[in-house]
């Protein structure tokens, strides 16, 4: 009898082959070809390391809740995760402290302000939501541990769990985030002034800069999204990445606050929980069905990947993925995941 490990390897291989022959592969190739030459937008340059990105990089990955993976284009190219990390750290805070404690430190209200605005809710002194910088620093501050080493270990373990492989921080990006992060320091100290973050705020800022500098690729982003889509269980490793009861918390802030100050229009047009980052990554979630990871470093004025948005819009339109698309009678995305319909 084969042991579990070899059965797992065989399952992976079979899954990989089923994906290779499924019609969805051609759909993604078509989308990739359609948007590959879109040259609008520019590469982020607020830190020198990000400006090194090749504008041509373009990867689209979709991972289904049953673990099929579709990768087209530059899906192995690493990028810094940047703001895409924020909802996942929000999830950590919820697991570690529960809803009640976390909601005292950070709200769940879209801001309409830029992601790096120095603004807190006047009544409660809370940051508006965990996906703006202020809120993300507040949630990073909630990562428990007796010292920095323990906290960073917990942080990395979480991201490795979502990605299904060990992930690492890019030191060059971390150093430049840290040395140019004056605005984030200002936000952190303003929150310290209001007692919204702890005394170890400098350490939490370090954690925040580390979290933004984690290297992932488009495939990882899709696996992370698929873990949320799959009620918190990573569909590749079958390991739990987030407690089931907090998945809806994370997804609802992604839906309402995930795309910087394009969030409202995003929810209206695309209707999927998603988070973008200035590294050029987007992680989108089709609940119960799949995760979508896209990497293309050309950003629009709001800091969202131009090609990434186009791909999500088209996938949402074509397969009726909008959360409120009712009675959709077109082809369903899951029908394309298999060569032979189930």
């Amino acid at each position: 009898m084969p042991d579990n490990q070899s059965t797992g390897a065989l399952d992976d291989l079979i899954g990989c082959l089923k994906a290779a022959v499924a019609p969805f592969r051609a759909t993604l190739q078509e989308l990739h070809a359609k948007y590959r030459d879109v040259a609008d937008g520019k590469v982020a340059d607020y830190i020198p390391e990000l400006a090194l990105a090749d504008p041509k990089w373009f990867g689209i990955s979709v991972v289904t809740v049953d673990g099929q993976a579709f990768d087209v284009g530059d899906c192995q190219q690493l990028l810094s995760i940047q703001s895409v990390s924020k909802p996942f750290v929000f999830g950590m805070a919820l697991e570690d402290h529960g809803r009640e404690v976390v909601l005292k430190k950070v709200g769940v209200e879209p801001t309409g302000e830029a992601f790096n605005a120095i603004v807190l809710d006047e009544k409660s002194n809370r940051p508006f939501n965990p996906l703006v910088n202020a809120g993300a620093i507040a949630t990073a501050d909630l990562i428990p541990g007796k010292d920095f080493a323990e906290r960073i270990k917990r942080l990395m373990a979480t991201f490795s769990g979502y990605a299904g492989r060990d992930v690492y921080v890019d030191n060059a990006i971390f150093m430049s985030e840290r040395s140019t992060g004056h605005r984030n320091r200002a936000i952190a100290h303003l929150m310290l002034n209001f007692g919204m973050v702890s005394e170890k705020v400098e350490e939490s800022l370090e954690l925040y800069f580390q979290q933004c500098s984690i290297l992932v690729n488009a495939h990882d982003l899709a696996v992370m999204g698929a873990s949320l889509a799959n009620a918190g269980v990573n569909p590749i490793t079958k390991q739990r990445a987030l407690e089931r009861e907090y998945v809806k918390d994370v997804l609802s802030v992604m839906l309402t606050c995930g795309m910087y100050d394009y969030a409202g229009e995003w929810a209206y047009r695309v209707g999927l929980p998603a988070k973008s980052g200035v590294g050029g990554g987007i992680c989108a979630v089709v609940p119960g069905r799949c995760g979508i990871g896209i990497f293309s470093p050309l950003l629009d004025a709001r800091g969202n990947s131009v090609r990434g948005i186009k791909v999500c819009e088209e996938l949402s339109d074509r397969f009726g993925l909008h959360a409120f698309e009712l009675g959709f009678d077109g082809e369903r995305i899951e029908d394309q995941f298999y060569l032979r319909k189930k």
């Binding site: 079979i14 082959l17 290779a20 051609a26």
Partner: protein, 256 residues
């Protein structure tokens, strides 16, 4: 919709390529556009049966997999050599062969570097469209590897070729199990090289019970085919031979 048929055997020497070539010719002769692709990249050979001279092969499947050409550039019309006198302008029958490279360097390169199996699948799809095929036969490498599994995954029908010996019995069970997991819609068995005097009825019963799949032909150990020595199409040379009649049953099942 074109039908895709893979032939596979767990071990080499079962007569898999000969079976593929002969069945493909019979299906083409019934008035179809047929493609035969040799995905046995490590040990290619079916081009010999179709008498496609190496000197004629400018592009092979390998060139496509390396992105050097589109797949149709590696397809050779072998209608005349394999079917004979067909009007060159006739749409049907038509038989195309996509060979793998026999160049040692190319084989080494594939073994060392591998390639994207997804691209192989894209190639299958392009062939079907570009050559307007009714049937695509995939001749696979013996044993289990990625391109074999991919071929099985995409096929409408799988022909498993085996000899009546215990090594083939065991190995075929492995392939059959994988094929089921890949959700192959139809699987058939061809038992080849059956020695004289063997109880074929009992053999059929035993094989069908073991693999839960229909035995579609039992082919005897055959001296004429050995004499053709893989250079030429047996069913053309021996149209009334019992072996040809048995292969026709396989072709009928492919077309049913």
């Amino acid at each position: 919709m074109a039908k895709i048929i893979s032939t596979h055997s767990f071990r080499g020497g079962t007569g898999k390529s000969n079976t593929t070539a002969n069945v493909a010719v019979l299906v083409a002769r019934a008035g179809h556009r047929v493609g035969v692709i040799d995905t046995d990249i490590q040990s290619p050979g079916i081009h010999v049966i179709f008498q496609l001279a190496e000197s004629r092969v400018e592009r092979a499947l390998n060139d496509y997999l390396w992105g050097k050409c589109s797949i149709d550039k590696a397809a050779y019309d072998v209608t005349e050599a394999s079917i004979g006198d067909v009007d060159p302008d006739a749409d049907r029958p038509r038989l195309f062969l996509i060979p793998s490279s026999i160049d040692v360097g190319e084989i080494g390169r594939i073994l060392k570097k591998g390639y994207d199996v997804g691209k192989l699948n894209d190639g299958f799809q392009r062939l079907v469209t570009d050559l307007r095929l009714d049937y695509l036969f995939i001749d696979t490498h013996p044993g289990v590897n990625e391109e074999t599994l991919l071929s099985i995954a995409i096929s409408d029908k799988l022909l498993l070729v085996m000899r009546p010996d215990s090594q083939d019995f065991q190995g075929t069970a492995v392939t059959a199990e994988l094929a089921r997991r890949l959700e192959i819609p139809e699987m058939y068995l061809v038992i080849n090289k059956v020695p004289p005097g063997m109880d074929t009825a009992q053999l059929r019963e035993r094989v069908e019970a073991t693999y839960q799949a229909e035995v579609v032909a039992i082919l005897p150990m055959n001296y004429e085919i050995a004499r053709v020595a893989s250079s030429g199409i047996f069913v053309n040379r021996y149209p009334e031979h019992p072996m040809t009649l048995a292969l026709k049953q396989v072709a009928d099942r492919v077309m049913s």
